[in-house]
Symmetry: D2
């Protein structure tokens, strides 16, 4: 964040392109694919993902398992907290469940950075259904490692290509 | 908890049998099966489940996705908080991630009731690997509904049988 | 919430007056006074309080103790979750600390209801300083009891008057 | 933690003495004194504090304010996470409230380290009353700074002496 050109239009465009490239790559991770999570957008400090609830996501009373909603929120948190190119991992997370979700409903998660220091970051993720009803609110604390996301993208590259 | 016969050996045996029957049924829920979660035991206010990390559970840096660990803990919380026969659902949960997990590792979650009132309950879930290393700590708040778990078991019965 | 006149102007005015009366009363509670918390406004599902950091609120490294920030957020949560007249108590809360606060700074907390069911409610509280900088984010889960806040106000009345 | 002499009796004794010295100093911080928090013991990764609920700690329904219980837990967390001599600050915390507390009751908090990495640490704090009843459970995430607690002790020294 120390380059003088950081806020020039070129730097902004570059940061934006990096965030999208990372977000797209992250959303291809095995567990996100296993759940059917779709990448819908990223920007520095921001991420958006969606998924549609299917039969395999249900619990015994016919609603989406809390772990499904958490996994969507956590993945979107990952898109946002890795968006500036440094690997970030979750230290802890809190989730409040507001309303149940049924088969066929689409869930949308939006993650926003609330604050960031050199080694840590705080994020808020709102999960809603397609009508905008509040489904869950997630708060995540990230630890920022020193390694670059792009290093992992290069290494994983060939395996990830379709 | 007010019946004098509650703590008689027969009542205790009955409570234990109910907790196990409910736990076994809960662990057959679609999302638990989708993840490969195995039921390992239940008692009133207690639950234990396990799973083995497979390729589809990974994130981009080769470790189990936080959503996988959460889902195991949340399922085990469900076994414990439904163990006395009333349907209980999660209001909120907090998870702290202590150590990463890799493919082939087995995770074991144990949920214990910490306190319970008429409508709510607090549970703690410890997730460890097979060597006993702390992987995550989960704290869950449950809301106790008025309906009986067994009513759902009866209704779902035929669909759930293998 | 079932009265047809609920959303008429008169009902709205009455709900608003009740929320303010309750909020003012709650902010006079001993611990809020002990900390110097000031009531700044309430509406159904909403509360706002403020306080100025003084010497007695500090920890050893010269910044406001986390317990001070939590107590302000928790009090404001109480104003919001009791605002419709039923006694509500905290089941659990999560707080993320974004930035430190020093002596002389004013902290402002705003609590918003995110969702509510018959027995429980979820609230979000944002704590900022006077310049609008994010200081902390609090998420609270409330249990709604059957008793009325006004019953407590009547009983406590004489002791509370100055 | 890499010195071979770390676990020798002398090193252990020194670590223990440091933890106690730091804990005693931390418990003299202004806000802890304002609340009447008493230091009861420390060891590497561990802390124990207590307080007695007084009139000024109450909320409007005659029980200890959630902020009081949180502040006791948070202070004890501070004793434990600063115990090895590096300044540690709270990133986030979750608290579940199990039972109310009344005037005259003594609350005891014990904080244990669950895991620690180079820059972060996870702690669990159990708050009970004198009879051992569970009052609250706190989970805290600490960020470990590079500066030494003893540097702050030296600087603050004269001001803190009674």
């Amino acid at each position: 964040m120390s380059h003088p050109e950081q806020n020039s239009p070129a730097a902004t465009q570059e940061s934006q392109a990096l965030a999208e490239r990372i977000g797209q790559w992250l959303a291809r991770m095995p567990f996100a694919q296993h759940l059917g999570i779709r990448f819908e957008g990223a920007a520095p400090g921001f991420g958006r993902c969606a998924m549609t609830i299917a039969d395999e996501h249900l619990n015994m009373v016919g609603i989406a398992h809390g772990g499904v909603v958490f996994a969507l929120a956590d993945t979107t948190f990952g898109v946002a907290c890795n968006s500036d190119g440094r690997v970030a991992v979750a230290l802890s997370a809190h989730i409040a469940f507001h309303a149940p979700t049924r088969v066929g409903e689409t869930l949308i998660a939006e993650a926003h950075r609330v604050s960031q220091s050199r080694h840590t970051g705080h994020y808020r993720v709102d999960v809603t259904n397609a009508e905008g009803r509040a489904i869950a609110q997630f708060t995540g604390v990230a630890y920022r490692r020193e390694d670059a996301v792009e290093k992992w993208m290069e290494e994983a590259g060939p395996q990830q290509s379709e």
